[in-house]
């Protein structure tokens, strides 16, 4: 997208996915998360809440590695939006996990105190995997690559550091950040 990127003057102090969010560094994500895990989605389902005002999508994730916290072997991740009983609720930018998908997740308990977890920073705490066949490494991406942020105080535009990493690099940063807490 270089051609389109060349046209931009400034990105703003937040990145956004429909739903707008402020960008968070890996270290900030780690700090805000009670658990940082790697795992695979093994089951997903959606349902209305009790008062029939919101549809939530739930994903059961089998934990393969824990980088922070003491989560159970499986966790249920709760995300706003989904389809249930003939209706769909869209929240653009919220990325529901697909069954079989591998991911690294920054999680915190849902405020509903229902035993589920939510992704920190909406979608920013959801790193998907892709394979760099040339380098032979696993790349992780939370979908906010290439962004720059406008520093509100200095008005300087700087690269937004929350972007493409190898899985090994991301794991190292998470562990380092967690060890400082």
């Amino acid at each position: 997208m270089k051609k389109t990127l060349a046209a931009i003057l400034l990105f703003v102090a937040w990145s956004a996915q429909a739903t707008m969010v402020k960008p968070m560094s890996v270290e900030e994500l780690t700090s805000e998360a009670s658990a940082v895990i790697e795992g695979q989605a093994v089951e997903t389902w959606s349902s209305w809440n009790a008062v029939h005002s919101r549809i939530y999508t739930f994903t059961r994730v089998r934990v393969s590695k824990t980088l922070k916290g003491t989560p159970a072997d499986t966790v249920v991740v709760k995300q706003l939006g989904g389809s249930a009983d003939g209706y769909t609720q869209h929240v653009s930018g919220v990325r529901a996990m697909q069954t079989g998908e591998d991911a690294l997740l920054f999680l915190r308990p849902s405020e509903a105190h229902d035993g589920t977890m939510v992704v920190v920073g909406l979608m920013q705490g959801h790193f998907r995997y892709s394979r760099d066949t040339k380098a032979g490494s696993t790349i992780v991406n939370n979908g906010v690559l290439g962004a720059e942020e406008l520093q509100s105080n200095s008005r300087q535009v700087q690269p937004y550091r929350g972007s493409a990493l190898t899985l090994a690099q991301l794991e190292a940063r998470v562990k380092k950040a967690a060890s400082r807490e």
């Binding site: 997208m1 389109t4 996915q17 209706y87 869209h90 929240v91």
Partner: protein, 326 residues
Amino acid sequence: MSKSVRDILITCFLLAFGLAARPAFSWLPQFTGSSANIDRWDFTSFPVQWNLNPATGSNVSGSRDVHAVIAASFGTWLAAPNTTLGVTEGAQSIVGSEEQSASNVNLICFVCTDADFTKDNTTLAVTITTTADRAGLSDGHGGTAGFAGQIIKADIIFNPNITYTTGGTDGTDLQVVATHEIGHFFGLDHSAVVRAIMFPFAGDLTTLGYDDVAAISTVYPSMSQSFAPTSISGRVALPNGQGVFGAHVFAESTTGSLTIGGNLRKTPIGTITAPDGSYTIKGLPADIYTVSAEPLDDPVTKADINSYPSAFGQSSLQTNFTTRWH
């Protein structure tokens, strides 16, 4: 950008006027279900209104009240050329939770507590649109939905943990966020065109770009047109002839002149290719364009439009090619 080595052959059929053969979109709409039915309101089936709860916490400050900002943000979209949006302001609300709100209220709220913002100071706002998956379901207004993908409700919830400014104070510019979110209110997803208001990394912009106009005027066309839209069609394919699904194709003017009047910004206008690689970029003002095709790998990625592949019965978009333009 992708480092993939595969060359791509772009077969561009630059048609001055039309010939749309496949459902491709010069922006990214939301979809409902497993068909390419785009989400949209039907302004004739029931009155579509936005209902503001004007209450705010101390997180909102500035020279204007929030009502003025929200009204101006809706006004930006309602002023889009070639577009008819039958939405009006409705009665104000006093609810502190969407759970307390009637199904025919499209709530805009700064103090609502049902979006799990309690420990979240990074999410600025969320827009939740509710659509019917098929015709005949209750529309929440005493009638039934007329088609799959009909929007029957939309709520915009601003995070009360974010410091907003309505002008003249420090904080996140409320009108920037509101204008973007209202695009979602109308069923628009993100655009991959930089400088579009619906670009997910939207800057400090409160006006629409040409890509936004192409989006809103295609979903909600007006009988009276202030400019005659044209289109460009073509096909993106690999050297072996295989069509590329999910390529971002955009037309960028080679002239510097504004070709649509009004308070708009000249931007490229884009689309995403269909499974056979075909595309039609709609809503173009008459001009001279360069057409480019690029993989959706940064900063908008295929993960950001995950409803698009399923709408075409595909599992994923292709990004195994490099940018080319003609």
